[in-house]
């Protein structure tokens, strides 16, 4: 298994994207074409949607699947969709090819996919596109442009916005620790690279050291605990994702150290600690509703509407002003899950109108 169980919580993208993410930069500049790609206009509602997942086990994936089936239920009521077929490649890109082939064989009308490899799916996806199937690819992207639409946030912007917040918090001066996801994983690399220009522009901000751990609480807490012993003065923690921040806050707490400004992602545990410990925090997210948006986009394209080839989803920001609105809804999300921002059809229409 490529995706080991030890990397459970946030690792989905880390590993899946491991090799993938750069492609989105290339696609980012593409302008909307005259008619939605792959569409031949020969398919009629109600549509059958295929959801080709690479790995269904991590919590983030389960939540994402939740938004997909919610969206399908909504579209069913409108009479636009009649069936959702779900596959799980169990981390195996080769299996994913086989399952997408089966979706083509079953003549589904749309395929929504998180790619297990940026290259491996290119041919089978092009085949599907040729058959007039709407292909919407999100989160972990493929290289080929033979898709109806690609949907993602910008990892580089993730890093730069987080770094800028830290600069503002500390007035451009102070000692910080940077916490990264696993080394050699593109989502982790891209976020770190995005932070670099901001850090370069603010030489007053001194990086004491950096950590590379899996996107889980325990390894992050362990790494931060030993850093706390070695460094009496830490002014901020620039944590770049997953549950790393929760590990950091816990480490500060157990050592009896005063909490410092901390960045992070929308992991429920981090948001709760943030409020409970009263620290000043900032977080963004890879919204789970990218899945729902993908289904919506596919149906829009099937309905003959034009959709942009690349939908860049702005990163929703959580800060001290709006964190309460997230925590209010916390009990609707799993304890090890992610509290994503609200979404509705109006938001989707706005994103597609870009």
């Amino acid at each position: 298994m490529k995706l080991s169980g030890s990397l459970v919580s946030r690792s989905h993208r880390a590993l899946l994207l491991g090799i993938a993410a750069v492609s989105m930069m290339a696609a980012g500049s593409t302008a909307a074409s005259a008619a939605a790609k792959c569409m031949k206009g020969d398919r009629e509602a109600p549509y059958t949607i295929g959801w080709a997942n690479i790995y269904s086990v991590p919590t983030w994936m389960k939540q994402t699947e939740g938004t997909i089936s919610d969206e399908v239920d909504r579209l069913k009521e409108e009479g636009l969709v009649d069936e959702l077929m779900i596959t799980d490649a169990q981390g195996n890109a080769q299996t994913q090819i086989q399952q997408i082939q089966s979706m083509i064989d079953a003549n589904v009308d749309a395929i929504v996919v998180i790619a297990g490899s940026s290259n491996a799916l290119d041919r089978v996806i092009s085949d599907a596109c040729e058959k007039g199937i709407a292909i919407v690819n999100f989160d972990s992207l493929v290289n080929t442009d033979n898709v109806t639409a690609k949907i993602n946030t910008d990892s580089s912007e993730w890093g730069s916005t987080a770094a800028q917040w830290m600069v503002d918090q500390l007035g451009g001066k102070g000692k910080i620790i940077v916490m990264n996801g696993p080394a050699g994983i593109s989502v982790s690399d891209d976020r770190r690279k995005g932070a670099q220009p901001v850090l370069d522009a603010n030489p007053g901000l001194e990086i004491i050291t950096e950590t590379n751990t899996e996107y889980n609480v325990a390894p992050a807490q362990e790494a931060m605990t030993s850093l706390l012993f070695a460094n009496p003065e830490i002014d901020g923690v620039l944590s770049l994702g997953g549950a790393l921040s929760a590990g950091s806050v816990l480490a500060f707490d157990r050592q009896g150290r005063e909490q410092v400004p901390t960045t992070g992602e929308n992991a429920r545990q981090f948001l709760e600690l943030w409020k409970e410990k009263g620290l000043s925090g900032w977080a963004t997210m890879q919204p789970n509703w990218l899945g729902a948006l993908s289904v919506y986009t596919a149906v829009q394209a099937l309905e003959g509407k034009d959709v942009p080839a690349f939908v860049k989803v702005p990163l929703p920001v959580i800060n001290d002003d709006n964190i309460d609105s997230y925590l209010e809804r916390a009990d609707q999300f799993p304890a090890d899950g992610y509290i994503y921002s609200d979404y509705d059809q109006a938001l989707f229409d706005k994103l597609l109108a870009q």
């Binding site: 298994m1 490529k2 491991g18 090799i19 993938a20 750069v22 997942n53 269904s56 077929m85 779900i86 596959t87 799980d88 169990q90 981390g91 195996n92 890109a93 080769q94 299996t95 090819i97 086989q98 399952q99 082939q101 089966s102 979706m103 064989d105 079953a106 490899s117 940026s118 290259n119 491996a120 799916l121 290119d122 041919r123 290289n143 593109s186």
Partner: protein, 318 residues
């Protein structure tokens, strides 16, 4: 003339006996699949299905060779990745597709033979040597191609993984090749050396050489599976092969090849891999949710191994 022919048939019948259950299960799955997806019986449907099965069939053959030898390889998946990477890196180069093909074959044979040499002559356990090998090979693949990429000419992709059953034809050729190989002394030696190395040695079988050749062929098959995956996907990916290690073992054992060596058939292993592959498609067309697929997959595998056992016990009773 009739005596040897009868003997041959009798031996084959005995070798097939433990596999009847598996044959029936595979046949049942294929019938259900064809019923759910009649397009399977068209040239295009058959081609696409066999293309998705083909690399698994190759690595299962590679693993079956190892198990028959009394060993096991944990480096099959990384070898697939390396094969794919070499194909994707070289085929765009000055020597083109032929150069790429030769490079992949040469690397597969060389790494296989080297591993075999270490196992046979230094008397180290295959599981340790191939485990170490898997790290090295993965590393080399990542050095050659740190991110998915490279290039496979379209015509080559279309030839192997287009709308014609070329992959299936290659599999048939490989099986014929295997039949011919086990008719040679070195080929026969695989079974003898795997079952009882000391006895085989005393009977004059060059046990070490048998091992090295078997490892080399196994490496070649895994690397060629990688070449095929590269052609199928149109590019190279340095980690795409990883899941093949476990799946190759699953297919082989499912096919009735014994872990302890010397017992089992290549046709069984091929059937095992076919079951693993067709199972995925049948579950899709039956509309199983992913969670049920995990459970069903486990049950099917246990069932396919247990049914022959149970029937033989049942048969043994008076």
């Amino acid at each position: 003339m009739s005596v040897p022919a009868n003997l041959y048939l009798a031996v084959q019948r005995r070798r097939n006996r433990g596999l009847t259950g598996l044959y029936l299960v595979v046949a049942a799955f294929l019938i259900v699949y064809a019923f759910l997806f009649p397009g399977l019986l068209s040239v295009n449907g058959f081609s696409k299905f066999t293309q998705n099965w083909f690399p698994l069939a190759l690595v299962t053959m590679a693993q079956a060779l190892m198990l028959l030898n009394g060993g096991i390889s944990l480096a099959i998946g990384p070898m697939v990745s390396l094969g794919a990477v070499i194909a994707a890196v070289t085929m765009g180069g000055p020597f083109g597709v032929v150069g790429g093909l030769l490079a992949v074959a040469a690397v597969g044979l060389f790494i296989g033979a080297l591993t075999g040499g270490i196992v046979a002559y230094l008397r180290l356990p295959a599981i340790i040597v191939t485990l170490a090998g898997s790290f090295i090979i993965t590393g080399v693949a990542l050095i050659l191609l740190p991110r998915p990429g490279g290039f496979i000419p379209d015509w080559f992709s279309d030839l192997l993984a287009g709308h014609t059953p070329v992959a299936f034809g290659l599999l048939v050729l490989l099986l014929i090749g295997w039949k011919l190989y086990i008719a040679t002394p070195l080929g026969l030696g695989i079974y003898a050396a795997g079952d009882n190395p000391v006895g085989a040695f005393r009977s004059g079988i060059p046990v070490e050489r048998v091992k090295v050749v078997a490892f080399a062929i196994s490496g070649l098959l895994a690397a060629l599976a990688g070449l095929f995956v590269a052609a199928q996907t149109g590019s190279g990916d340095p980690v795409i092969g990883t899941p093949f290690t476990l799946n190759s073992i699953a297919g082989t054992v499912l096919g009735g090849v014994a872990f302890l060596g010397g017992k089992g058939t290549m046709r069984g292993a091929i059937c095992g891999s076919l079951l693993l592959s067709v199972m995925i498609n049948v579950m899709f067309f039956l509309g199983f949710p992913p969670v049920a697929q995990y459970v069903a997959q486990g049950l099917i595998i246990v069932g396919a191994v247990a049914i022959p056992q149970l029937t033989s016990q049942w048969r043994a009773k008076p």
